[in-house]
């Protein structure tokens, strides 16, 4: 993959065209060369390990910072979700009725009260209409009676006129009779006087009767005005109000349904947010895992260091890095798709720069919020 096999073979094989035996012993110089190669590569591996350690620590720091930030945001979200649930709950109460003098009255109860009141009004209107018509009937009847009394008065006047005429005739006859008719003259005078009195009484009665008739007519007219006030529109108002109240009850029901759904959803959101906060808080376990990985890598690094030193001690010549290892690293780095990461690896592995202190590279959430697209 990295071309070591070929390069190692090229370095190990003598230029002789004759094939060497498969299990031929390796010369001491070749062993030294391989050891130097191993030490050089171990150095490279150490740099890779240290860079990885640094990268893991930085990533862990970034993840922790982000997790803290997310946790804070979710906690704020949880508070908001709780408040939202409370608001929805209060909206639910509002949808179900109104508050009067501190007492909550449900819409259907309002409708019931309104229906009760309107039924009472309708009942009174009916009673009023019935009584008014009863009065109209009674006054019509009374008017008929008065008319009949008026006819009787007419008859009385006729009788009186005849009586008066009789008295006059009796007086004439008494005058003709001379002294013999003196007593008859007195009776005729009394009858005439009686007729005059009856006439005066009749006139008085006619006047009184006229006043009664006038009163009845006025009463009838007034009653007619009352009775002809059409209350049918007022009665139909009950019908319309009932329709309105039914629509209001239906709307209240729909609103309650929607609000209840919203409450359920708000509770689900609150529960989800709480779950997310708990999930984010498990980041601590991830950090511990990464610390174990870093610790293991450091142990490997130390082991390599020790083995490298021990091996270098037995070699005559110092170890120098070869371009083959650099090529291997470059081939490794070609696999990286993140430019920023690749730059850090180049700087630290190939250029020998020291890894950054993870504590200094703890980025704020806003700084790490950018994502490299590739």
């Amino acid at each position: 993959m990295f071309g070591w096999k070929q390069s190692n073979a090229a370095a190990a094989k003598p230029p002789s065209p004759e094939p060497s035996p498969a299990l031929a012993p390796v010369a001491p110089s070749q062993q030294d060369e391989l050891m130097r190669r191993w030490i050089a590569f171990a150095g490279m591996q150490q740099r890779v390990i240290r860079t990885l350690v640094s990268e893991i620590q930085q990533t862990s720091a970034v993840v922790e910072t982000e997790a803290d930030s997310l946790s804070s945001r979710f906690q704020r979200l949880a508070v908001c979700a709780g408040q939202q649930t409370e608001r929805v709950e209060s909206l639910s109460k509002l949808a179900m009725g109104i508050e009067v003098d501190g007492e909550a009255i449900a819409i259907d109860r309002i409708a019931g009260l309104l229906e009760e009141t309107l039924s009472d009004v309708v009942e009174k209107i009916l009673l009023l209409s019935k009584d008014a018509m009863s009065m109209v009937y009674a006054l019509s009847e009374l008017n008929g009676n008065v008319n009949r009394v008026d006819s009787c008065m007419e008859e009385l006047n006729k009788i009186n006129r005849v009586t008066n005429m009789l008295a006059l005739n009796a007086r004439i006859e008494a005058e003709r009779a001379g002294t013999a008719g003196a007593a008859f003259r007195v009776v005729a005078g009394e009858v005439r006087e009686l007729s005059s009195a009856t006439q005066r009484l009749s006139v008085d009665m006619a006047t009184e009767l006229h006043a009664v008739t006038q009163g009845i007519e006025n009463g009838h007219e007034t009653l007619q005005r009352v009775a002809t006030i059409d209350m049918s529109q007022n009665l139909m108002a009950k019908d319309r109000l009932e329709l309105l109240m039914n629509a209001l009850i239906e709307r209240g029901g729909n609103l309650t349904e929607v609000v209840n759904e919203a409450m359920k959803e708000a509770e689900v959101i609150s529960a989800d947010v709480a779950g997310m906060i708990t999930g984010i808080q498990f980041q601590d376990r991830t950090r511990q895992r990464l610390e174990h990985v870093v610790d293991t890598l450091r142990v490997v690094d130390e082991a390599l260091d020790e083995l490298k030193t021990t091996t270098a001690d037995v070699l005559d010549e110092p170890v120098v890095e070869t371009t083959i290892d650099n090529e291997w690293v470059k081939t490794l780095l070609d696999r990286f798709t993140l430019g920023e990461l690749r730059s850090r690896f180049v700087a630290q592995i190939l250029e020998g720069k020291q890894p950054a202190d993870p504590s200094e590279t703890e980025a704020s959430p806003s700084q790490t919020g950018t994502i490299e697209l590739f």
Binding site: L126, S129, M133, S134, Y137, T228, S232, D239
Partner: protein, 99 residues
């Protein structure tokens, strides 16, 4: 309002608009029908287009008159505005209302 009376004792039919101005003929009709023998009196209202509160009052007086004479007043097939008025005033609890 027009009143159609069947001399053979059939139902009485009212048509047009029943308002205060009809109190004289209506009273006369009520007097006549309760003067005649029988048990129940049926008034067909299917052709009655409108009734006002005075008309309702007169029907209630007719009901009282029926009770006084141990008779039953049946109102038949009210429609349109008359039917709505009957519903609002719950006339079906006061009269026998036939559909």
């Amino acid at each position: 309002m027009q009143i159609h009376m069947d001399n053979a004792g059939g139902p009485i039919a009212m048509s047009g608009e029943f308002t205060f101005s009809d109190h004289v003929p209506f009273k006369q009709m009520v007097t006549e029908i309760f003067a005649a023998p029988g048990r129940s009196v049926v008034i067909d209202l299917s052709k009655l287009d409108f009734i006002d509160s005075a008309g309702l009052g007169m029907l209630l007086l007719a009901r009282d008159e029926a009770k006084k004479n141990h008779r039953e007043l049946i109102l038949r097939r009210p429609s349109g505005q008359v039917k709505r008025m009957f519903a609002v005033t719950k006339f079906n609890t006061l009269f026998t209302v036939e559909e």
